[in-house]
Amino acid sequence: MAKYLLLKHYRGAPASVNDVPMEQWTPDEVSAHVQYMRDFAARLEGTGEFVDSQALSPEGTFVRYDGEGRPPVTDGPFAETKDLIAGWMVIDVETHERALELAGELSAAPGAGGKPIHEWLEVRPFYGVPSTITE
């Protein structure tokens, strides 16, 4: 098995097909979207492939070391960041193809009009463990 991160960006990726901002959906459409995510995670737990899922608040502060004995430099939050990470799901699957298949399904979460939003998800493999037998 190999672990993959399915990364959800708010910006940075090309615009998705059904690109209506969430606050302009109907309340039922928002609920349907949230329910889809929940069902998806529950189904993956059932298949033994679910590891973790988290959503991030859009707030964020950049922090930088500023030398010995000085407080760290902070900056932001910025009105527009180029690439805002909205959340992620971690899965543990048998193959890379399976990771792509699941990302495709997650991207089909319903949005405005109850239609799939076709949002872009980035699929990133985790590093594995070193194997014992090397020669």
Binding site: G48, F50, V51, G128, V129, S131, E135
Partner: protein, 381 residues
């Protein structure tokens, strides 16, 4: 509490429940529940007869579950039942369990999880920790695996090769988490070797012992990988090496060579060299030839190229590498190594950096990055 004893008894107790009429899935669940209770109760109140205790508690758990399935009103169960002696076991239940848990209808990860639980006696929580997934996910993986094999008759003979692949997987990914999976794989393979007279089981056991012997030398305390040639060989476990060599020699005399015996023979030749320079690379190449003949595996060919590079020089190694698919894992790292040996640090540094970018794990990535950095520093000075 004797956790080793608890684990060793697990397959036997499952076998007894199955013989009393429980189906495998229900028996396995009941024994798992009994294990969890044993972990809780035994430290303060150790049983006089651990096996009888497990059989009694597991059987009660089984009846509990069966009753609650049929009627919710019959959930009350007496808790002071006398231990029921198990029937004498004619066929080896443990061996049957190995076959069932490695059944070809299971995915490798499911077979691994089921084997660790039903044969190894690990709890779902321990298995989940070892593979860094939530306990609920691992529980589902195991119950799906049990559903998959639910139609398989318990007394069907299986193919030992599928069992060996599962045990190999457990061993080869064995150094993560709190549970010593490599040690567990060795225990399960040792137990299997005691129950079968199969030369490849012996071959795999020897292979595991010989690699496990190097464990103290493989990594530095900070987690850094130490390549074989640079390992402090005084840290190798000579007792494990001696045992591995004995097991291998006994297997080889039967003259039925297989891939695990060939791999173990290569490991034994490394173990036999007091220094890296004393390694008998010519013989190692011969064993790789056998391994390639037996498996036709591209990974074996890649490792053979390394051995050829040591036996006949880096040019010969590069020639052996030339015919292989560059997309093979570690192909670039091997090419980097051979180019450095061939006196081309510029190419080697570039290839090490490239190999680092496609490394399958962090310690290897860091190791390859350091190799590139070392050569680049040399080139600058």
């Amino acid at each position: 509490m004797d956790e080793a004893l608890l684990r060793a008894l697990t397959p036997t107790v499952i076998g007894i429940l199955v013989r009393r009429g429980a189906d495998f899935a229900a028996a396995e669940d009941a024994v798992q529940d009994a294990l969890v209770e044993a972990v809780r109760v035994w430290p303060d109140d150790p049983p006089r007869d651990p096996k009888a205790w497990l059989v009694t508690v597991a059987w009660r758990k089984f009846l509990d579950a069966a009753r609650s399935d049929t009627s919710r009103q019959h959930r009350e169960v007496r808790v002071d039942d006398e231990p029921v002696p198990g029937p004498s076991v004619a066929v080896d239940d443990t061996l049957q369990l190995y076959f069932l848990c490695a059944h070809p209808s299971l995915t490798p990860a499911s077979a691994v999880a089921l084997t660790l639980r039903a044969v190894g006696g690990l709890t779902t929580k321990q298995i989940a920790q070892a593979y860094l997934v939530p306990e609920a996910t691992m529980a589902q993986r195991i119950s799906r695996a049990k559903r998959t094999v639910s139609g398989v008759r318990f007394n069907q003979p299986g193919d030992v090769a599928t069992v060996l692949r599962v045990l190999y997987l457990v061993f080869n990914e064995g150094y993560s988490g709190d549970v010593d999976l490599a040690g567990e794989a060795i225990r399960l393979t040792r137990q299997l070797a005691a129950k079968t007279n199969h030369e490849e089981v012996a071959g795999l056991l020897a292979l595991m012992l010989l690699h496990h012997a190097r464990r103290p030398a493989r990594t530095r305390p900070d987690g850094r990988l130490v390549p074989l040639a640079e390992q402090d060989r005084s840290l190798w476990n000579t007792r494990l090496i001696a045992e591995g060599v004995d097991v291998l020699q006994a297997a080889l005399t039967r003259d039925r060579l297989g891939e695990f015996q060939a791999q173990a023979a290569i490991a034994a030749l490394h173990a036999d060299a007091r220094t890296a320079e004393e390694t008998d690379w010519v013989q190692i190449v011969e064993w790789y030839d056998e391994l390639v003949r037996l498996t036709d595996s591209p990974v074996a060919r890649l490792n053979r190229a390394v051995a050829v590079g040591e036996a006949d020089g880096p040019r010969a190694g590069l020639a052996a590498l030339a015919g292989l698919d560059p997309a093979l894992p570690r192909h670039t790292a091997v090419a980097a190594y051979l180019h450095e040996r061939d006196g081309d640090p510029v190419t080697a540094a570039r290839l090490y950096a490239e190999a680092a970018r496609s490394a399958p794990n962090l310690p290897e990535r860091d190791h390859l990055t350091r190799q590139a950095a070392r050569l680049n520093a040399q080139l600058r000075s």
